[in-house]
Assembly symmetry: none
Homo-oligomer: 226 residues x 2
Amino acid sequence: MKILVVEDEPKTGDYLKQGLAESGFVVDLARNGPDGLHQAGSEDYDLVILDVMLPGLDGWGVLRALRKEGRMMPVLFLTARSQVEDRVKGLELGADDYLVKPFAFAELLARVRTLLRRGRATEPEVLRVADVELDLMRRRVHRDGKRIDLTAKEFLLLELLMRRHDEVLPRSLIASQVWDMNFDSDTNVIEVAVRRLRAKIDDGYETKLIHTVRGMGYVLETPDAR
Amino acid sequence: MKILVVEDEPKTGDYLKQGLAESGFVVDLARNGPDGLHQAGSEDYDLVILDVMLPGLDGWGVLRALRKEGRMMPVLFLTARSQVEDRVKGLELGADDYLVKPFAFAELLARVRTLLRRGRATEPEVLRVADVELDLMRRRVHRDGKRIDLTAKEFLLLELLMRRHDEVLPRSLIASQVWDMNFDSDTNVIEVAVRRLRAKIDDGYETKLIHTVRGMGYVLETPDAR
DNA sequence: CCCCGGCTGACATCGACATTACAATTGGGT
DNA sequence: ACCCAATTGTAATGTCGATGTCAGCCGGGG
């Protein structure tokens, strides 16, 4: 289990690192926000412990940036303040738990264990069709091993197409699943969305995966036709 | 809602059975792969929960055998391992979801409910006549194992002919089913449509399936009829 | 051998879809 | 508070394929 601690106060940082290491975790330590973000992006941590008050980029900023990159590992916040609004803000941004300084190490350890257990239960589910991988938890997509950044809508659409690959999906279905509209047909959102998705996952590849079936809908089709 | 749990560890198995039963499901339990397979084949379950590691025949084997028998109910995999390749292997074989042990029961329940809701959405409804297969869901057609692309109208027409194979369908009927016209007889759309369909499913095959009955209409005739 | 129903290929057209540009909205960064 | 960039929806225009029409041909049964 690898944990990243982002903490600027040397004493607290060292203390955490040592304590967690003694409890059997592999621990890396970053001393400021930007370093922490960079570190979190370069390796796969099972958990991040974030101080709210950090030089350069505060805890919220780090968290926001992480989530934006699609890093969905659990995050434990450390804060000196106990105001409700801070807590709310953090939770809205996807912090998984909160700990108010000062705290007992045993308390921290208990929460860490809880978060890691929860994290396991939500183990990433990976959809794979042809050479495309879609990681639902990390919200990441690769084709032929190359990372592809998708927007929220694009991701939803691709997820649908992959879950039901080789099946022609009528536009009405797509509309109800990806948007929640009952198909006010005087719009072409779907075509545009498909276009944008194609630009990212099909353009530049020899074998196209997304196919149009006139008068019926769209399919994501595996290259092999029985 | 009937669920089959295939799990060899007595503790886990009983735990699941009891928990699911308390949640209102009818649950059967099999303790090994072959039993599970046999059980799944003998009754209609809405969902199967499969442990990957089983004595005799592992989870993948069971899943594969089930699919081969045409049992398309959703399958939830339980695995102690978290390696990516295991997940991928399962998903490729058609597992619908994954859960890594240990897991919270609430998590399991949530996934079970999701899968049941999704239900038999992925079960292919397939019409078969002679060596032609028409998959209504995927909107795909094969003859003699070879894929055939049809347009919307062609598909409708073939569907009608297959649903009522060995029956002579008068043009008026075809007109009303495939087009929604009351047979303005000064058109030959039907002939043209039949021609185009023949080009795709009969041309190049020894045994023709679509036959004209002068003055009456068209039939899709199985070679062994009469 | 002729006639009528059906067959066939060519062509026209209409609409579904593609594509691009632009506007509206959102949310982060200064 | 403002600006910038990214995302998403809207609109206008282009393209192409599915489908209908037509004109001529074919062939079986009288």
